[in-house]
Amino acid sequence: MSIILECNSLTKAFGKKRALSDISLNIEKGKIIGLLGPNGSGKTTFIKLLNGLLTPTSGEIRVSGIQPGIETKKIISYLPEKTYLNDWMRVHQIIELFCDFYEDFKPEKAYDMLKRLNINSNDRLKTMSKGTKEKVQLILVMSREAELYLLDEPIGGVDPAARDYILETIINNYSANSSIIISTHLISDIEKVLDHVIFIKDGQLVLTSSVDEIREENGKSVDGLFKEVFKC
């Protein structure tokens, strides 16, 4: 099995504050991975390091054996936790932009999903609600045939009906070659789709394990274990 994600004593500090310290892990290809932890545990920092939006303070990170750069950006499809699209563009213009820059972007997939979620491709992002913007971003991200999808809080701001559709979309797009990392604290909603989980707390790696192992060894659901590990 080849490795999609590899970290060696990865550390990221902002000034004196350590957002991530000494994370080492290897993840195999072809899995849906839950990156779980309470607010402020370093989930977003971890994902941004994978994307090259942040530079590690020390240690290293490799995606498919390569350090973050042009080659990893070609194979990573990233959904940030904030709106990164400028509000004056129309949806179809953004789709054209993605077509222009990502070779693996499939516009027909995007238009199909827009139709399913009743979003007009002529609308400007300015006129959309926060939830609709999040849906547009998720559609863009899932319309790529990437090797690694990084989804930072993909279901946080959308209504339950759309949440189900989104999870369905994520699973349907998932092929044997691709891997998905989903960061969230809403575990019960996504537990059924996860193969592997990474627990982080205060920037430290608490646990990395397959979901089956958790169920066998602890006799607990991931949600149950999460509540136990992160008990306040």
Partner: protein
């Protein structure tokens, strides 16, 4: 890839700047029409339209400048940077596309301003005289400088282009340095700008002093007509071109290093 980036850069900037150009030209026409109507007793419309015209003119130049900063800062180093820096594109292309389009708008704004002034002041007789004088001047110019006229024009254009690029890139470099700070990024950018300006000026003075001791141009400084001074003009122009060129490359390399190796988007 650079071509595609340039396309999106033009798309993002033209929607702001083109309406301003249209407003300026329209106001120039309005001014022209109003001033040609012989109202002797009441000057208010002329004065008001002239004030609005001037405001738009100033606003256009300010906007051209603000847009240059804003496109770099907002599109690359704020939330929009999440998209720009996850595109599979080298960071020097982002800098180059922003630089080229900013320079393009600066030149265009200057041209549009001249056109609007021309519309307001257009007068057949004066224009004829002006054109005549220009033809005479250009003729004189070529006669005077002979085969070197082309070189002269080339040098002056180069000074303009390099000067503009160095101004823009110095601002980009300052913003990039400010980005390295964990807090007070804008304040740090302003501080970096002051430091960079000071360093550039000190370097310029040092270079100027050193070059004044170089043997070549010295015997020329006693010349007392234009032909005698000509080599000195070339010498000074090339000094400015090479000096600004080196600084410009320095700013570019610095900005690119920070964006590619020290990126930390919040």
């Amino acid at each position: 890839m650079l071509k595609k980036l340039l396309k999106y850069e033009v798309q993002a900037t033209s929607r702001i700047i083109l309406p301003l150009y249209a407003a300026l030209i329209s106001l120039a026409i309005v001014n022209r029409v109003i001033s040609s109507i012989p109202i002797l007793t009441w000057h208010a419309p002329q004065i008001i339209s002239m004030i609005i015209y001037n405001m738009i003119l100033i606003g256009m130049f300010i906007m051209t400048f603000v847009m240059m900063i804003q496109r770099f800062y907002k599109n690359l180093l704020s939330d929009e940077g999440y998209l720009m820096f996850t595109l599979p594109i080298k960071s020097w292309m982002h800098i180059a596309s922003k630089l080229l389009i900013s320079m393009m708008w600066m030149v265009t704004s200057g041209i549009v301003a001249l056109i609007s002034i021309f519309i307001i002041a257009f007068d057949i007789i004066i224009t004829k005289e002006f054109l005549h004088a220009s033809v005479v001047f250009i003729g004189d110019f070529f006669r005077y400088f002979g085969p070197l006229s082309g070189l002269f024009i080339f040098e002056i254009l180069l000074v303009g282009v390099v000067g503009l690029a160095s101004m823009v890139l110095m601002i980009y470099a300052s913003i990039a340095i400010g980005h390295l700070f964990n807090r007070h990024k804008i304040l740090a950018s302003v501080g970096s700008y002051i430091v960079l300006t000071t360093i550039s000026q000190i370097l310029f003075i040092i270079m100027a002093v050193i070059s004044s001791y170089l043997p070549t141009p010295r015997h020329l400084s006693i010349a007392n007509d234009l032909h005698g001074v000509e080599p000195i003009i070339h010498y000074v122009l090339w000094f400015v071109i090479i000096f600004s060129g080196i600084l410009t490359s320095g700013y570019f390399i610095l900005t690119n290093y920070i964006l590619s190796k020290r990126l930390n988007l919040e």
